[in-house]
Amino acid sequence: MAVSQRRLRDALVALVIILIAVPIGGAVVLALIHGDTPCILCWAQRTSMALIALVGLFIVRYGPRPRYVGTAVLLATWGVFMGFRHSALHLARDVGQGFSASIFGMHTYTWAWFIHWTVLVGIGALLLFLHWKEGEGWPREPGRAGRFAMGLFVVVVGANALQAFATTGPPPFLGQADPVRFSFDPRRWVWSQEELGGRLSLRGSWTIPEPDVGDVDPDPAHGPLADLPSLSASGWERIGVPLAGALSGLAHDPATNRFLAVTDRYEVYVLDGSMARSLHHVAVDPGFSIDLSPFAGTAFVGDTLAVLSTNKSYVLLRPDSTADADLEWRHFRETDGGMRELRLGRFATVRARQMYVLSLAFDPSADEMITVAVPSPRHRRLVVSRFARGDLVLSSEFEPRPAPGLRLTGEDRSLAEYVVTGAVVVDGLLYALSAAYSTLLVIDLRERTLRGAYAVPELERPVGLAARGSQLFAAQADGRVAVLERPGAESPRAEE
């Protein structure tokens, strides 16, 4: 397509004028009308747009030299990243909870993302029609429109400089994360260097190591709670079925006297009451549609088998002798043919967000599934999350507080040091077994308190907990199961 270089230059001038007038100049107007003030990231994005417009003026003046086109591409690419990084702060918020001015339903940071992307498209389109050789064809003078663009640029950037002086101050002050509204009154101006604080990090609060029970201290004497009574195993049992992978969860169904065992290799076993015989077995495919991290816990939910991964994704299964083998092929890597998948999903949490879990329990009286988050260096909390069985959506969360009679060993200690790897609900009490400090926690779900705690020194980093009658079954990764007499509803600590 034949397009004269002068016409191409005029098109570039028009784009530069639009860029100067609309986003860069419009931002100053927003400050004057609405008091809108950019944060430090907005300032960088606005400056980037000004620099792209300036590179456009370079091209208008000197021609489309590769170093100018290259600079524009680099600036636009960096701007797309800035827009993504900035928008990511707010994209996942609830409806209407964006930050700063909204234009046609999009907030300014999202517009910055779109504008930089549009610049890349514009550069590509202009290059399609460019037939430029050094010193040939490109007009030597910027022309009337080019001079207008330069004048407009000086005026608009000058206004931005004044706004920047008022809202960010002269060096060494710089932009702020949470700026206040714009004012002409110098007494209202806030100049700060608060953005220089904080430690360097690549991923910030998302730097969460995957939980590793092998790292925890199993000695109850080192735990955060003082003077705990001990609980001894009344016996030991062993899962008699060869397991593929390390055991990572155990549950018991009182209605059918069956056990449910899962491993870190996505294996699910339905076992008889003696744990010596496998009634059903599948290996779940952890990929596709929803990624399952290693299985961490399991529970009987009526006749449904609930299996939870460390990343709070779950799979619901049901034994079914009529299961269609061809239909289930997509769900299972291995199957005995007697199981079907009901549902894959993800639990969404609030207090336990950005935290992994290592346990799953079912509370039949509330008809809720329960997880207990494990702490990380970034998030030191012990959070109990409850999910309604009907829609599998979060119904409540809490951090249990110690009941009177339970005492921390120091002011710097907390319940968040426990790493709960097994949980089961009996009579409204959540029995949560911590691999760290080998401690059994008894949490009152109604009062949201830690009613009692017991040291279980014989355990070695347990991975699951089940209940049968008055007994608790504390499972270890190697398939050994300690049988404990379940402490009653009354707290021995409170009684003492």
């Binding site: 300036l54 000058g158 910030g204």
Partner: protein, 55 residues
């Protein structure tokens, strides 16, 4: 710092508009201004350089 960078951009624009013979100086200042802009963004995101979402 943002104020300083806008002053720098104004100077570059003035060179391009009124002193076009100083092209090399103008481009050198442009690169400096780009670096300041990028540095200020990194200052604002130094506690988490990449977006805080599931990547």
């Amino acid at each position: 710092m943002e104020f300083l960078n806008f002053l720098l951009i104004l100077w570059i624009a003035w060179l391009v508009w009124r002193r076009p013979e100083n092209e090399r100086l103008a481009f050198g200042l442009l690169v400096l201004s780009c670096a300041i802009m990028a540095l200020l963004f990194l200052v604002g995101t130094h506690t988490s350089f990449v977006p805080g979402v599931n990547l």
